[in-house]
Subunit: 342 residues, 4 copies
């Protein structure tokens, strides 16, 4: 029976922007069936009431989360705030079997580091070592076999993809790495706050959480594990008045005598099998990747200061969240990883 | 003593955008002294904490409102939400003597109409007939003598100034007047809401409160009183992704055989003594008046449909709020009405 | 042979925003093959040079237009500026057979009206009566049989869809119809001008071409033909700082004693078979239709003034241009009209 | 006679954004008389035709530049593109005596460096050593005595003010200084280009001119001269979708064991006499300085990486151009440097 072959997916935390983006990506696929959408405060409402763009195309109603409910699903996407996710993931692993968590609860290996940056205790520490960091360009084999995916953060996706080839090849020094990232406002979620109001954000820019953003240990952990080296990296996030997109600009010191063309060649080789990473000759722009699952990477060698400038762009809601989650789902179910994403 | 001649002004509700705009306009004047700034939820904070733009130039601290406090001021500006204002204005009239209310509590003559549109009872009805509608281009003599000024709403300012000459001269019919207005987001105030968040407002437009906006009876009341006729007018406000500004486009049916040049001449004559109304040959734009107290008005005669299209633009926080309030203050204190506003 | 069944489509004028949107919509379809993309000034460049978003997904090179070239295509989309289109359409009709013109050259029946509004002579007048106005909600049968489709303008699409049911049913009077429309900047095309520069457009709004916009006769012609009545309508377009989207607000006088619910019911019935028109209970917003082929329509009855306010929203590049063109193509080739558009 | 004491100022290149900003700042002063406004392509037009905001307040007409014209002025502001300025400055120095050039022609000491970055020969090389770099916080005494002021670039103003105290005090290492700057679009001037059109810039970000921006040698030259050290600095500018403002984020390595409080104290002491530099406890935002002549500087010490992150914000058209020029004029004429700027 054909319909029995559909992947049945539940979305827990479906009323936020990542949840809505999951709906956009999954609802048009004929090989996926969304079994239920859970959203505490919006329970009882139709999806199209919150997001009228889905009127006529997504006929689902938000439900309250009930842990005891036996999930009739093959996979659960969890798009809850950090701290909430870890409360429901153990149950979902038991009932559903496969979980992709889009939040930060399972991205760090150390519960101490988690508490330091997320400001609360971790209540599902036994799962930290089991979770697979869901960056397909780094971990596709482990993702294929995983039960629990920690879907990467938006900033880390743009930073790690840009730095991985250089760090793994020893091209750059492991210290004095400087990362500036600019994020669109949807990265802050769908919430009521004066700080995120149009009047405050429009015609404005601000750096924030300098030195204490929760994505710092995530970037550090993943890069150190992948490269086998201790690295010294400074990261400053900024809020800019766009809805979607992350722009990351990285300065690193070259540790080898190479040309820009050689660096580009190295990057192209590194990502040869990665359908969503594009090594660009021109400096990439947000609009080149908006509403796509691509990460575009550019590079410029500054001869006078022996620095390499890496620029990378993603859509924070797609490659930085829901798109990457779908890419992970594709891998977990043995599908082509680009399915539904091109 | 020179300082004794300064106008001492208190600002009640100084933490919102209109309050901050009052501070911008008044703090640089050497003939005005701001005696205190009141803001309930921000009491105890410095002005520059909420609005760092004032760091080093405005050294004031928000205070809580205390009715019993004897005000040492010559005038009080009240920039509270509608419904709050009417609770404090009677006391301020007693202690200070002169009050300019930037909210909607004293703009309508009828308490029934007030309750219908503002959804609560009026608790200071005895002041409704005493309040002077503070549109200087209409009421300058009454403003000079007033104790209580009802500072006009932002939409009404743009609509009334555009329609007054045509209605008073009988140029247009009193029915089938259609008004479309577009407002920047600062008009909704400084508040936390998903609806006003950048992500929701950016790249979006919406009409709202069609047929039930509280500025409808204000426009109607003022125009009918000024023209002596009953008018039939439809008003639709829209929210657009700009911070400041109102764009109003009005269609009305001509009731006389006139040329566009004659209409323009009539408008120019009508506003000859009004320093802040500019009759324009080109279609006005928001940027022509942004951060100024001007209202620019354009007009195009549509011969085929015998319609006149009037376009008017203001900055909602200046001519639509704080600037007009200062213009009123100038008139009340016998100053040139442009003082501090050009 | 499976590939022989693909629809082979040529895009003439593929470097502008409508052309790029056609590429976005057609390039992912496995039943369509884009045979060539023509763009005079960009000839020789890869599509991905102008639009890097297509890097890795659209591997086409812009060519110069050569009339003599025998087109190996089943359909040609022409997205040239008005005035250019009529020069190439006759040849394309001969060589390709089926043409969808996204510009204004074949939307009016009268060459005099064309010259009055487009400011140049029509050089292919013999095709004016042959062209079918490509609004599927009005003309689907004629579209199915057409050789030449005049794809509707962006403003007209939003205006006509909102007014058709009311006019055809006699619900509203045919005079005193007032239309205000707000357009995103992509509607002005991809061009170099100070007026369209970010600094001029951002934080600004302006009405323009009041009374002489070329879409006025298009709206008038289509509505009068469809309703069989002479109508008197005023239209004012505005430029607003968003990239995509049209917001149309219409005031009309009711000609019958009806309730809002009855009007809504009439509209729902009228569009029952139209998959891209959604009659909405809430006031529609641009974001509800952005990047979709939907036209959402809302309605509010103003009892005091016996007016109906109709609001309609579309994405100007999709339902207002490329999406509607694809919808027309689907109909012409006997496909489901939603194919590739949901 | 009182009027004879007015400063008579000519503005050469008055039709661009910096020129218009000069008009905004100078036209309201009663101690300054604008003698003429020169603008080649707009000659013959009224200022208010290009900038209707000045209707009724600035009644001046653009003139063509004529070198032979004996200037009846005390000072000339030159706001021409780089390359044009150097052609007229020698003549203006002779006829007017004092010149403030807002472009880049006189900011570098070396004609070779000029040619390398500006891509044309310098035709007034004899003035390079005579010109005073007009950063009042660095050079106020020399400015007071100068005939020719090279008004600093927008990026350099934000970068140099942030780095000066740290470099002059030896607080930071002179190598591995990384500067990321984000600029509003008005910094690119008032020009017609697809790249600067709203549709391209909105919802987009891009880095540009990595490693070859003409402000790199300016920053380097000024900082090395002021600190007496050779420095190694990388600078990446970005274009962001705001109209006004520059956001600069700097990473540098500490060369001393200091606390954040000590660094802040050092900065406060350094700028004690500078009325337009504010050392901030919070991270500064663009809106804190928009339309002001302030430069706000924040600092965060990153203990793990021994880096100091400096953030600085200015309005590119005010402190980054016209405001700083007026500040320089004030100093040159013995006025309080804040006159007309607070």
């Amino acid at each position: 029976m054909l319909t029995s072959k559909k992947i049945r997916a539940a979305i827990i935390g479906a009323s936020g922007y990542s949840g809505a983006e999951l709906l956009r990506l999954l609802s048009t696929r004929d090989d996926v069936e969304i079994t239920r959408v859970v959203a505490g405060t919006s329970a009882g409402k139709k999806v199209a009431e919150l997001y009228p763009v889905f009127a006529g195309t997504v006929d689902l109603q938000y439900e309250e989360f009930r842990a005891e409910k036996s999930e009739n699903a093959d996979i659960a996407f969890v798009a809850l705030p950090s701290g909430e996710s870890m409360k429901v993931v153990p149950g979902l692993l038991a009932s559903v079997g496969r979980v992709i968590d889009l939040g930060g609860d399972f991205r760090l290996l150390s519960p101490e580091l988690y508490t330091q940056y997320y400001k609360h205790e971790h209540v599902a520490q036994h799962l930290l070592s089991e979770a697979v960091y869901g960056l397909p360009e780094l971990n596709s084999q482990a993702i294929a076999d995983a039960k629990l995916i920690a879907n990467p953060g938006c900033y880390p996706t743009s930073v790690i993809l840009a730095l991985l080839p250089a760090l793994k090849s020893g091209l750059i020094k492991t210290e004095h790495i400087v990362v500036n990232s600019l994020s669109g406002v949807s990265g802050a979620g769908r919430s009521a706050s004066v700080e995120l109001s149009f009047t405050e954000v429009n015609e404005n820019i601000k750096a924030y959480k300098i030195g204490n953003h929760q994505h710092i240990p995530e970037i550090q952990t993943v890069l150190e594990k992948a490269s086998g080296s201790t690295i010294s990296l400074s990261f400053v996030p900024h809020l800019v008045p766009i809805t979607r997109g992350i722009y990351t600009t990285i300065h690193a010191s070259l540790d080898a005598a190479v040309t820009e063309a050689e660096i580009r060649h190295l990057y192209e080789a590194f990502y040869r099998e990665a359908p969503f990473v594009r090594i660009r000759k021109e400096i990439p722009q947000i609009k080149d990747v908006a509403r796509t699952n691509f990460c575009d990477i550019g590079m410029t060698l500054l001869t006078p200061t022996k620095q390499i400038v890496l620029t990378s762009v993603i859509d924070n809601l797609v490659k930085g969240a829901a798109g990457q989650a779908v890419q992970n789902m594709n891998i977990m179910f043995g599908l082509k990883q680009t399915k539904g994403l091109l």
